[in-house]
């Protein structure tokens, strides 16, 4: 129990750090980036919006930075992220909520598939270590995980979508996909998802493979494994109940911790395929100097990763009796 409480504490604390970074960064940087942004939109925003922004970024010297900070935190807690500048006057939160399902669907599901697949291959590669096939996957995995996500996406896009025209070039749906959740809509969604899914899968599976392989090799030299073999257990039982169960724990923890990195790569994938998720809008907001949107997106990406980590911690409690006892 204390384990979960501690994790919950870290969750809240990290979220607070993310929010605070959001607040500090634009104020920390020399050259007043907010004025640059306002200058860019001068004439296109109505004066009341400009005023609102100036207040939000403390350009009007209304109150001390401390009181600004608390106003900011208060707004955050109420879910008030202000209005997007590039999509004025849409509230930032609306943009985020529109993009969120796409990212969760694409990045979330693909990452889970990738983890399962990579861990399976890693289990094979670690357990059968010394055989040509099991050892050859290592350099292959290292190469795949060293590829820039977006670059591999570009190549897929060029060959499979542009040259061969097997898949659509961009977006998540056809312009007129039919009624939502109809068969045509689903098939449109699926066709658009193939290339992004493939990109994330191919470039992230190697990392899980290496992690799992190392864990399996570590477990293989544990005394309880020698004891299991001495007992004359069948290989299937040893692999399932002794190797996998134990190697999965550190793999799973690594999964939580690498999630931030994987999500970063996935964001680039969304950009390449103009897939309308959080990453795509983050890119849009950066190029359009839309700071309110950018900061809200960062906050939500951090929130998603943190929640996923909390979920990992929860599952760890189920998998590892030592944690349940608060011993780990």
């Amino acid at each position: 129990m204390s384990y979960l409480l501690r994790k919950l504490g870290i969750f809240v604390f990290t979220l607070w750090v993310a929010a605070t970074l959001n607040f500090i960064l634009p104020r920390l940087v020399p050259g007043d980036p907010v004025s640059v942004m306002l200058a860019k939109y001068q004439g296109r925003l109505d004066p009341s919006a400009v005023d609102a922004l100036k207040i939000a970024y403390g350009l009007n010297d209304l109150g001390s930075p401390i009181s600004q900070y608390f106003t900011y935190l208060g707004n955050l807690l109420r879910g008030d992220f202000g209005r997007s500048i590039s999509l004025f006057p849409t509230p930032v939160i609306d943009v985020v909520l529109r993009a969120l399902p796409y990212t969760l669907g694409l990045v979330g599901i693909t990452t889970i598939i990738s983890f399962v697949l990579g861990s399976g291959l890693g289990l094979y590669s670690g357990w059968r270590r010394g055989r040509a096939g099991a050892d050859a996957v290592v350099p292959a995995a290292l190469f795949l995980s060293s590829m820039p996500y977006f670059w591999f996406g570009l190549l897929l896009l060029y060959v499979l979508a542009f040259q061969l025209k097997w898949f659509p070039l961009s977006g998540a749906l056809d312009p007129f996909p039919g009624d939502a959740y109809s068969a045509g809509w689903w098939s449109s969604l699926a066709r658009h998802a193939v290339l992004p899914v493939l990109t994330i899968l191919v470039t992230s599976v190697g990392g899980w493979l290496i992690t799992m392989r190392n864990n399996v090799i570590s477990v293989a030299s544990e005394d309880y494994l020698a004891f299991a073999r001495a007992k004359g257990l069948s290989e299937g039982r040893i692999v399932n109940r002794y190797v996998l169960r134990n190697a999965l724990l550190p793999s799973f923890t690594a999964f939580g911790m690498s999630l931030g990195f994987v999500v970063g790569g996935s964001i680039l994938t969304e950009i390449v395929f103009s897939y309308p998720g959080l990453g795509y809008y983050l890119y849009q907001s950066v190029t359009n100097l839309d700071y309110p949107l950018m900061q809200a997106l960062f906050f939500f990406i951090a929130l998603a990763v943190l929640l996923a980590n909390l979920l990992v911690d929860l599952i760890n409690v189920i998998l590892d009796p030592r944690i349940r006892e608060g011993r780990a």
């Binding site: 990290t14 750090v17 820039p148 060029y158 004891f227 002794y242 030592r322």
Partner: protein
Amino acid sequence: MTAVIPAATVPRRAWKNTSLGRFFRNPRSVAGAGLLLLFVLLALLAPVLTPYNPNSLQFDAFMGFSAQHPLGTTALGQDIFSQFVYGARLTLLVGSAAGLIATFLSVTFGLAAAYFGGRVDEAINTLINVFLVLPGLPLIIVAAAFIRGGGVWPVILVIGLTGWAFGARVLRSQALALRERDFIAAATVAGEGPIRIIFVEMLPNMAGLIAANFFGAALYAVLSEAGLSFIGVGDVSLVTWGTMLYWAQAKGALLQGAWWWVALPGLSIALLGTSFALLNFAVDEISNPKLGGGRLKMPRRTVSAAGPAPVAGDALLAINDLNVGYVTPTGTVRAVRDVTLEVQPGELLGLAGESGCGKSTLAFAATRLLDPPGAVLGGSVRLAEHDLLALSPEELRQVRWKEFSIVFQASMSVLNPVLKIREQVYDAMQAHGVTDKAKLDARARELFDLVGIQTSYLDAYPHQLSGGMKQRVVIAIALALEPKLIVMDEPTTALDVVVQRQILQEINDVRRRLGISIIFITHDLSLLVEMSDRVAIMYAGEVVEQAPAHQLYAHPAHPYTQQLMNSFPPMTGPRTRRSGIPGKPPPLSAEIVGCPFFERCTKRMPGVCDVKPLQTFPVAEHQTAACFLYDPTVSPALKGNAIRESQINAGQSNAGQISAGQISAGQISAGEVSREPARNAKLN
């Protein structure tokens, strides 16, 4: 302190000699280093390789391949090849500089947390956790978005400052483990300051891990820079492989068919990343013995054509001329040498010797549990009707536990931490055909009663049990199928004396009742003499003496055994501290000519013992010793002096003590409790 045989000191090999050698033999590190060298050369030789400035816009746009422009030109009229070779410079700079910053932070935070502990550790650990879960790239994007332009250093700084947490976590746990080690504790006691301890004592021991960490951070930095540049954050007026991709994408290179403008920088990033990843992986493998090894070629076992030699009598276990070695990159450690040993049905054979003399290796090899790099080099092992070393894996699986079981030296860690005890008791029986749930449950309860644990602990997890209880569980599991033989490798050394006593008593009761044979391994000779029917003494991989326990106690034949006996605490009279045997055993990696005990023997006969090939000679009925003192062909004049001395010694050590019969065959009586404190001291 006394009857315990002191540990052999294992010479510490210099890090460089082995690790550097392994670095250059490891195909992955060689490939990684080669690839990296190639890119470094490319970067250094840029002005030689191309005459053009990578930024000059002097050419036509989108030119194809030509002698002048081997890779054509960009949409802006720059030479792509020049951009590529000059791009290597900044890309490498970003990778190494940001990698260094991140590694520096990882080391600083990781070591500080581990060294100072307490509050500092807690604070740093929280910080690490925060940075670990904060999504890095989005953070960098947001941070870098506010720092437009400004050259390459802001990007390097941002990447370095966000990429250290993973390494810090790994280094912290490694340093925490190091802190527990003796030499750090010694340095602390000696009053060395934190800076000195961290930099002089701890850092050098973590060199491999830190190097691996650097390559990991460099990989992360190169990929992050590419991603940032690609979306136009950072300074796109610089020439890196990342900004090349940005411009290629922005100018529609693919749509124009100039696919190589995209393919080349991306592929180079991937290859540079691979070289970092290979180095990271290889250095990790080299510095972490758990991950390395296992890929060595195993020498074929040389089994005599006649198969296992027929054994006289009806021994249950017959080990014949067994040779076992550890095949290491620096040579073969021959840990078991020409061992011939028998165990009769129902017999308790004690096996004693200094730690490091090969007892566990013998036990593991004889039960075919030896893992690489250990390998049986020759000889045979017969158990009942099975030629153990020749069984197929499936045959072996079936024989295991049913015919013989083993209680490991490391009993504290032989239970699977994530499975309930019940499952681990059951599966041993299930693997050998007992599948009925009611029967399994009944047997498990019976076993737990037998070894004295409450049956409720069947549903506990291993970490919920104390050391003594775990030991009992393991012994219960070893008894589950009532095997003919149980090998017990120092089953009680880790326990306190009272628990140890109880467990030994129970083992003895059970084996007498069921007629089970036991090989009992320990470095505690006094314990062994009390418990065993027969004792075998090992030294430097060889069995140097075998005798019935009372005989060995009354008349130890081998000078090594005598010296061990001499260090027995006297049972009466003042308890004096005695030191172990001076000197240390010969390294097992060397070929030993003559007697391995020569260097330390007080009765050695120069010209004989260090020259002649050693054999085992009969001493008395049922007693043999591998010592030239019992070689009838050696002139009595040579050994006269030595023998007289030995008799005096033996006489002294037994003077006025209990008779041999009293201590034979594991009678552990209340009368001997007076010796308890002595054993207590050596068990600490």
